[in-house]
Symmetry: C2
Subunit: 218 residues, 2 copies
Amino acid sequence: MGVVPADAQRAESTRGARTGVVATRRRGDALLRAIFDAVFDQLRSAGYANLTMEGVAAAAGTGKTVLYRRWATKEDMIADALRHRLPSPGAVPLTGDVRADIHALLRCVQASFNSTRGTAFQLVSAEAGCDRPAVRQTIIDHVVEPCIQLIGEVLHRAAERGEIRPEAAGDLVAASGPAMLVQYSLIREPVVPDAFVAAVVDQIVLPLTTRSAGAEHG
Amino acid sequence: MGVVPADAQRAESTRGARTGVVATRRRGDALLRAIFDAVFDQLRSAGYANLTMEGVAAAAGTGKTVLYRRWATKEDMIADALRHRLPSPGAVPLTGDVRADIHALLRCVQASFNSTRGTAFQLVSAEAGCDRPAVRQTIIDHVVEPCIQLIGEVLHRAAERGEIRPEAAGDLVAASGPAMLVQYSLIREPVVPDAFVAAVVDQIVLPLTTRSAGAEHG
DNA sequence: TGCTTAAGATACGGTCGCGTATCCAATTTG
DNA sequence: CAAATTGGATACGCGACCGTATCTTAAGCA
């Protein structure tokens, strides 16, 4: 073996069957993109618990070798995939309009689901409370915390301008928007629709900021 | 082998080291409780992805045999553990007082975290968006949906009595409380403190129900 | 065109966990 | 106390996946 005509096998290789193309060999970014697609594909179909390097390699139409050349562990690979796909809340331009800014920041959280095929929070919580939270922290640090933080700042400045009631500029209100999106992704379906984001802004976050609301509670 | 004195080994068995007791053999419910403790222990320390039957057996001070006598698969075992440990929202007595009832129902969601060592939502989302959500559905069906449902009814009746604004009796407001608790458990720490539940009631849910709130939005 | 780099197939030993079978001993039952 | 039951310890074959090594060949570059 090894002396057999290799081209015969090559003709019906896995990759050919997947793309339908005559097996053009990918490199660099194109390959990387295919791998990341495969990662989220696998997360979605098999779940985090059952994701394997071999499965990802097969889904990407490549070999384990290629993966191990880039990442030492499964966690590294996933964390890297996230870093490439997750949006950056810090890059969201803020206008000063409370409604628009909160909406923009929540769409950022929404994008973190949709850009990862709805698996982002699956990842966060697959390791929740676990002793070694490897992947989990990537998402929290990269998207959720910054978004809550920025929403908090938006609220705080609005409160200083007197646009909203001062009590609304607290941690809980700032966290309410992201919480609703997470909830939706977990309970309903992985991908959060635009309409839901808008509904959260108008029926949850903004109502909490209006002048008279909640004065008698607390 | 097999003819060696078995008592010599028995003296320093795993179970003895764990309980400090002279290895009294458990049965029925006592054994079941030890197994469920071990399940949540393992979920917490190793995570859902790394939970194994052998690990649970070892942690419970028993053998795989005992587990397989009761459950066919890992998922069955975990689902059963949940069914035994999760609170029943339907059993919460409702008084008619909006604040008290919502508080009671949210404490039920809180209890679903704390009674499972904070692993309940870890489980929900470990399989979020996955093709075969085995364990996930148990928690959603058993606690989260009923709680949201009941909160919705409480709000609805309060709206009919004119105690809260009618728009607040919608799905989003009903879901906001549980969403905040899930968020906390995932982002901050697995176990949700009492004070946080109270803060959610008074700073999020109730403010959303007050008369004037949010009239101009949406 | 020839050289260098990296893709991708394949094979391999090793480990881990699965699920079963087997046997022994502790409880419970009558 | 004898019988029936169930807990508990191994042992074992099996398959999946890991991580590495090897080799061929396509892609990019000078």
